[in-house]
Assembly symmetry: C2
Homo-oligomer: 213 residues x 2
DNA sequence: AGCTATAAATAAAC
DNA sequence: GTTTATTTATAGCT
């Protein structure tokens, strides 16, 4: 407990009437069942508190064990809070997420892509890519995604707000934590449809949402 | 405390000699400073325990607040443990990670890419891509990354091992948790170089590691 | 991988 | 946002 060390109140009988009236001012932490909190305001409070706690635990784990950690949370409102090193997320994304957006139906493609062997470049199977060219292929992917990112920002006017710095910022820097000032971020997503369907924010549909703005 | 409700030991004088000999069998949880744990074995134990705790907290937060959460941890050994919904990671990756691998130096490119206006396709600025073509562009990115993923698996023989199921698997499913059986995974990375430089596993170099195998 | 005593997180109330 | 009482996480041992 870094802040406000539990002060001994034994010798400070201030607010005596309160203590007399109600010896226990609160019932203290109550045990709760782990199931969806139905009440909106209560749920928001819990989300805020526990997200803070989760990020703090992550920061501690990172510092204690020299591990890189990335966390993303989507609130039901579609707001995104992230913690940690983007590289971690990227690495995992590339290695562990084979399908990102839904595959194109195959029909209504525009006439953009130049074709090689009757296939557009993105349709070429990896077997056709020699191992020696993989790194270039990666670079290409990077460049394309980079351009996309810039374009997305242009179209969507992405609003990113820095949250309070991570709890152990100094120590995290010591273990070569990257993006120090961006370790904890929140993005306000105002393009949300009327319903609270946070699932619509998932990868498959975010582009169309941006384009609606 | 789900397991082993703190049993009242007052009326069960078993192990009496132990209690007489040492009323307190352990010193209980000790306060530790949040800094890198130098001792290897101790650090591993802490990583395991706290990672478990972190994932449990994440599962609780997810269930309580209906939030989607993704966590990735890289141990110093380069082992990756993930928790949660891959979509969450992907979405964030696309929106919030402008630079993935380092930009190519611009010199030693192979003669692969077809050029348009003197630029290879991945060098074209997004301004040249009409908004109407963005979705196709996205599809292209997807296809390329998908091919890369397949190729990476071919080259690296990716070994993925399921860890124990998430703590609140049932409830998480109720809030449309995806990839139910993959919510918690660990990937063994055996291609690690001699030193314990976990940072080498970061995005910028993972491809070369794979190619070494 | 278990156990215990203590530190830390947090549900309610303010 | 703060405080309090209680639950929960976990450091040190085995």
């Amino acid at each position: 407990m870094e802040y406000g060390e539990r002060s001994s109140t034994a010798c400070l009988p201030l607010k005596e009437e309160k203590l007399q009236q109600n010896p226990k001012t609160t019932k203290g932490r109550q045990k709760i069942e782990i199931k969806q909190i139905s009440e909106e305001s209560k749920r928001q409070v819990t989300f805020s508190k526990r997200r803070t706690g989760l990020f703090k635990k992550a920061a501690e784990l990172s510092v204690l064990c020299g591990a890189q950690i990335g966390i993303i949370t989507f609130s039901r409102r579609g707001r995104i809070y992230t913690f940690g090193n983007a590289d971690t997320l990227v690495e995992n994304y590339l290695r562990r997420t084979p399908v990102m957006l839904r595959s194109h139906p195959g029909g209504d493609m525009a006439n953009e892509g130049e074709e090689v062997d009757g296939l557009k470049w993105w349709e070429r199977t990896v077997e056709s890519v020699p191992e020696e060219e993989m790194e270039e292929y990666m670079t290409a992917l990077n460049g394309l995604r980079d351009n996309l990112w810039t374009r997305i920002c242009q179209l969507g006017g992405d609003q990113t707000v820095q949250m309070n710095a991570p709890v152990f910022q100094n120590q995290m820097a010591e273990i070569e934590w990257k993006l120090t000032d961006e370790n904890v971020t929140v993005r306000n997503d105002q393009g949300q449809a009327g319903d609270d369907g946070y699932l619509d924010v998932a990868a498959g549909t975010f582009l169309s949402q941006i384009r609606k703005r």
